[in-house]
Symmetry: D2
Subunit: 118 residues, 4 copies
């Protein structure tokens, strides 16, 4: 089991920012930009790979990807702090919404978006 204390991570990241006087730069707007920039770096790791290759990364590449994923995770956690969002609750709500939008017996094996179903 991998329990993780999100509050503790959020506090570490917030303290890291405070020690550097960086809260002034970390408006939600700016953090959303930084997160999307990191998502762009993640894309860049995969853009010239086939889908099959993307499933079989060597150890060095996998670590590069894992650290990009950590960047995204960390900006997401900082956004939680700045916006006072409980991400675990939001995840629950979103999974419930998706379960309603995409009933298993209706969408099986199809990648259409929910609003493309008639």
């Amino acid at each position: 089991m991998t329990t993780i204390d999100l509050n503790q991570i959020q506090q570490r990241l917030d303290q890291f920012a405070q020690e550097r006087d960086w809260e002034q730069f970390q408006s939600p707007k700016n953090l959303a930009m930084a997160l999307a920039g990191e998502a762009g770096e993640l894309l860049a790791e995969f853009q010239w790979l086939s889908e099959a290759e993307s499933s079989q990364l060597d150890e060095r590449k996998r670590e590069t990807v894992a650290l990009e994923m950590a960047d995204i995770f960390n900006y997401l956690m900082l956004l939680c702090v700045r916006l006072d969002v409980d991400i675990a609750g939001a995840v629950d709500r979103k999974i419930a919404i998706n379960a309603e939008r995409y009933p298993a017996d209706r969408v099986r094996g199809s990648a259409k978006k929910y609003n493309e179903y008639e």
Copy 2:
């Protein structure tokens, strides 16, 4: 304290995909694209707001943003499953790297990237 069991969330998301026969679409390459697409939706929520406004969202907007954040979180968790990445470990490694790159007494109050320091 908000502990969260990442394995359990990952299992829920993986099962959600399996019930819909969606694993075939969820190569790491495709999940990275989906995550970046959601990061684009997060951006869209903030793009015409000032930084100050982005810190003072009304409840409806804050929930919209929280659900976009949940989308990003969930694609990140699915990437962890498909790539067998331990995100908590990656977060620890990345924070350690950043602590070395950005010593507090050197970068205080500055937003330059680490490779812009001489």
Copy 3:
């Protein structure tokens, strides 16, 4: 007047790819990823700047930004080649759509999305 021959740019970029045997990597899917990755790099140039600062770049930063913009432009041109899209025509159609969605006397001074108007 800055007329530009889009076909000629597209041919240069396509030839550049052919000389390197890179067409095999340049599926529309992959080019969309590469374009979005470059958009992420553009974001990174602006993420810690205020809006006012983003309007007053020094020459070095402005050139960095211009080259990121060129990257985006070039991937867009390659997408035109691979998908046989006439971008000038698409631009005309999109401006017409936006003119209908956002009548000037209705949306003046407001940044809401068209579907947020009642």
Copy 4:
């Protein structure tokens, strides 16, 4: 031949914004966000398609993609206006840089980034 007058498109887009009193929202920072948001929408069109499928779009999907590409093009043109960037010149400079970074006889058939070559 598809010559296109970039100045004229830029003027149309700038006038469209002026008629709606939207220049106030169009800082370079915000335009970069909007462009990246549109790049995210482009990604979303391709994320569950195989590379082969992405080359064989039906007409409806191709038009959807073309209009997303137009959105990106238009935000790029507005950025040119706000930053006074000559995109045709930047494209020339960037192609020259890439020709030096990626000599054809060295990189043929390989998708590595230039800094991954020893």
